[in-house]
């Protein structure tokens, strides 16, 4: 049976959940449902209606919120914290390496064609030193728990991981509605995230910057599914939210158009894909983007966060090698485990996967959002056979992993507390130094037994607490 995070193996409530258990008992199920309705009314009023992680679906949809927090003890968090920082550091070291000498490839630890022939690798970045040698300034690492002492990394997100606004909003609403739960100061705050993000972004100001760096958040616009998060974060950081049309490049620098004349911009926190950054450098058919932006970046006039080409580090085909990166660059053993992964692109991998497809979770290498995946144990023989045909047609487009025994977290059901599977995404900030707010986003599969936490597939979100003692 899956590990239920609220209980110890003997079935008693774990210390870190003791206070929440008391609160649940005192409030009662009917009381909790009443409060949940209030919370939902507030969310609707604020208007948080974007899909997590750009999953698509109806952008006006409200993501279900679950009232019961997911809790990590201080000891648990210490290990997570070290593991997350270790991984974020190794991923950035890998990015610097592959855009310079490629030592890890020369050492034969990662096949070079997997990097150099990968669409996510941007040849334009070769030989360039981004400020502080940082490529991925916000590393979102998706983690699942598979036992009392076991955390495993599902995937890394090195480009522009989204969802952090849920972490902030979920906490804000919980604090507002249940001030007593937080009054003793046992829960580590997360509301310093925007200030830390801004500090991180200012630390990577380009050589051309003089004085206090001017930071902007670049959004594709209000039609983007994460626009709410873009405007929310810009607002909390006190920086301007801009669209490509608001910027132009001149004399090697980036300028923002204002009614008082052009204003120089030093750092751009961009929530736009590489392809749409600069029509002169990347997609010529794109009408989006700021012409010359990449040229200004390479010549030190502006910093782009994340760096173009950072996506090579979070590619699903590269994921397998992250433990090797940690050993190679840091000389350490990985603190967080990787999930064993079979690559259908290899002969042995393909044979194993086709033989065991009924027991495995198979995914498209370039897929995301829980679409196009097969959960073997939950599929019919016909579904498995059809998926096997897809794999055979394009083996290198697929990977497979064992079905994980994901932990469950307490969730508010109709008749009381129920157990639902969850995952976790913390956001590690990388500037001149690393910063990690004690918390993150917990996504929960609201359907009983479901392992898919994506909001497009019936998932919800909940507050995540890291206790101080």
């Amino acid at each position: 049976m899956s590990f239920f995070e609220m209980h110890d193996p003997a079935g008693s409530v774990r210390d870190c959940y003791a206070e929440v258990q008391r609160w649940i008992d005192d409030t009662g199920v009917a009381g909790l449902h009443r409060r949940l309705e209030e919370a939902e009314a507030i969310f609707r009023r604020i208007g948080i209606t974007f899909a997590v992680y750009g999953e698509g679906g109806d952008p006006e949809r409200l993501i279900p919120f679950d009232l019961l927090p997911r809790i990590f003890s201080r000891m648990e968090w210490q290990r997570l914290d070290q593991g997350i920082r270790q991984r974020a550091q190794a991923l950035n070291a890998f990015l610097y390496d592959v855009y310079h000498r490629g030592e890890i490839l020369r050492a034969g630890l990662i096949p070079q064609e997997l990097v150099y022939q990968n669409e996510a690798f941007r040849p334009e970045m070769i030989g360039f030193d981004p400020p502080g040698r940082v490529y991925s300034h916000i590393v979102g690492i998706d983690i699942v728990r598979t036992g009392p002492d076991r955390f495993e990394v599902l995937e890394d997100n090195c480009r522009t991981p989204s969802g952090v606004s849920y972490m902030l909003e979920n906490r804000e609403i919980m604090t507002r509605m249940f001030p007593d739960l937080f009054s003793r100061g046992k829960v580590t705050p997360v509301d310093n995230y925007p200030a830390q993000l801004l500090r991180t972004l200012k630390e990577v100001a380009p050589p051309a910057c003089s004085g206090d760096p001017v930071v902007v958040l670049l959004t594709p616009g209000s039609l983007n599914s994460a626009y709410y998060e873009h405007s929310y974060l810009a607002d909390l950081m006190g920086i301007e939210l801009v669209e490509p049309v608001d910027l132009f490049v001149e004399d090697g620098r980036v300028w923002k158009k204002t009614t008082a004349g052009p204003k120089a911009v030093d750092v751009i926190y961009r929530r736009i894909d590489d392809d749409y950054l600069d029509p002169l450098a990347f997609r010529p058919d794109s009408l989006l983007g700021v012409p010359g932006l990449f040229h200004a970046y390479r010549s030190g006039g502006v910093t782009l966060c994340s760096a173009p080409g950072a996506g090579i580090a979070d590619d699903k085909a590269i994921y397998v090698y992250v433990p090797e990166m940690i050993r190679f660059y840091l000389g350490e053993e990985p603190i967080l485990a990787n999930i064993p992964t079979w690559q259908c692109g290899t002969k042995d991998g393909l044979a194993y996967v086709l033989e065991h497809l009924g027991e495995l979770v198979a995914k498209e290498v370039h897929g995301s959002g829980g679409y196009g995946m097969l959960i073997g144990p939950k599929s019919t023989a016909a579904e498995i056979a059809a998926y096997a045909d897809r794999i055979r047609a394009n083996p290198s487009g697929f990977i497979a992993q064992p079905t994980l025994d994901l932990s469950t977290v307490p969730t508010l059901g109709e008749a009381g507390v129920v157990r639902r599977h969850a995952d976790f995404r913390p956001y590690c900030l990388v500037g001149k130094r690393m910063r990690l707010v004690a918390g993150g986003l917990t996504r929960v599969a609201l359907t009983e037994g479901s392992l898919v936490v994506n909001s497009s597939q019936g998932g919800g979100v909940k507050d995540t607490w890291v206790l101080r003692d």
């Binding site: 690798f121 040849p123 002169l280 012409p291 040229h295």
Partner: protein, 278 residues
């Protein structure tokens, strides 16, 4: 040999443009086979001075102006000394990892016919094999202007059987890559084509990597390796990637681009001057 070049590109706009951005790869590199004696790039008379090297080792300049322009006139002009090096192109200050040049793009996708053409080569030694490929490409696509466009892929050009230097080069790099040979697209100037006619536009050819020798330039259009008659501007994975000029304009649409290249022997004292005719 000293070659004098004047390369002019003129964009005309339907109504005056209020913002123009240009990415210029109009600065020939300093290489073992070519040395820059003098070179200047101007846009509407204003010199563009900064040409930092991009990832492929080619100079890359950027020009931006706001205002009202009904046309943009880009002029690259100067003198380059060239050497005959049997097609070997070396001396790059910056080199990208070779496997990058095995990447196919939309314009070079090796469809069945291209792979078949590549596989039909019987030569096993690398240089004869690449010469055979060059000859095969030239047979497969008869030189004819006005049939293909800048958006024509290697596979489309092969199916049409007619095209220009861009199509020859796309087919060459596509087939070479499908055989596991790193290859890239090169834009530049050629003093004259095989028949001795002056070219009034930029030329395109391919470079293929041969272990032990390095990059070798193959001009499939003329069935030759590059010689001292060639001036190399820039390279990329395909014609788009290696475009000498890329532009972005706001507030209007382009109504025409006109390119004009004049290349001639520079006149060192006592040598014969060949002035290309209009």
């Amino acid at each position: 040999m000293e070659l004098a070049v004047r390369h002019q590109t003129t964009y005309r706009y339907a109504t005056p443009a209020n913002q123009v951005s240009l990415l210029l790869r109009l600065h020939p590199g300093q290489l073992d086979c070519q040395q820059i004696r003098s070179w200047e790039v101007t846009v509407n008379g204003t010199p563009v001075t900064e040409f930092p090297l991009n990832a492929f080792g080619d100079g890359e300049g950027f020009y931006h102006r706001r205002g009202a322009f009904s046309e943009m006139e880009i002029v690259a002009t100067g003198t380059v000394a060239t050497q005959e090096r049997h097609g070997i192109v070396s001396g790059f200050l910056q080199e990208a990892p070779l496997p990058i040049f095995l990447r196919q793009t939309q314009l070079t996708q090796p469809e069945a016919a291209i792979r078949a053409l590549a596989r039909s080569l019987t030569e096993s030694e690398p240089i004869p094999r690449l010469h055979a490929l060059s000859a095969r490409v030239r047979e497969a696509i008869t030189y004819e202007t006005g049939i293909t466009t800048a958006a024509t892929s290697a596979a489309e050009a092969l199916a049409l059987g007619r095209g220009v230097c861009q199509d020859h080069t796309h087919l060459f790099v596509s087939a070479a890559r499908s055989l596991g040979i790193p290859a890239r697209y090169v834009s530049g100037y050629l003093l004259a084509d095989e028949a001795g006619h002056a070219l009034r536009e930029t030329h395109a050819w391919a470079e293929a990597w041969v272990d032990g020798l390095g990059w070798i330039g193959f001009d499939a259009t003329n069935g030759l390796c590059v010689t001292e008659l060639y001036v190399r501007l820039c390279s990329g994975l395909d014609a788009h990637d290696a475009a000498p000029v890329r532009g972005s304009v706001y507030g209007t649409t382009e109504i025409g681009i006109q390119a004009d290249v004049m290349i001639s022997l520079a006149a060192p004292s006592g040598s014969q001057q060949v002035q290309q005719q209009q």
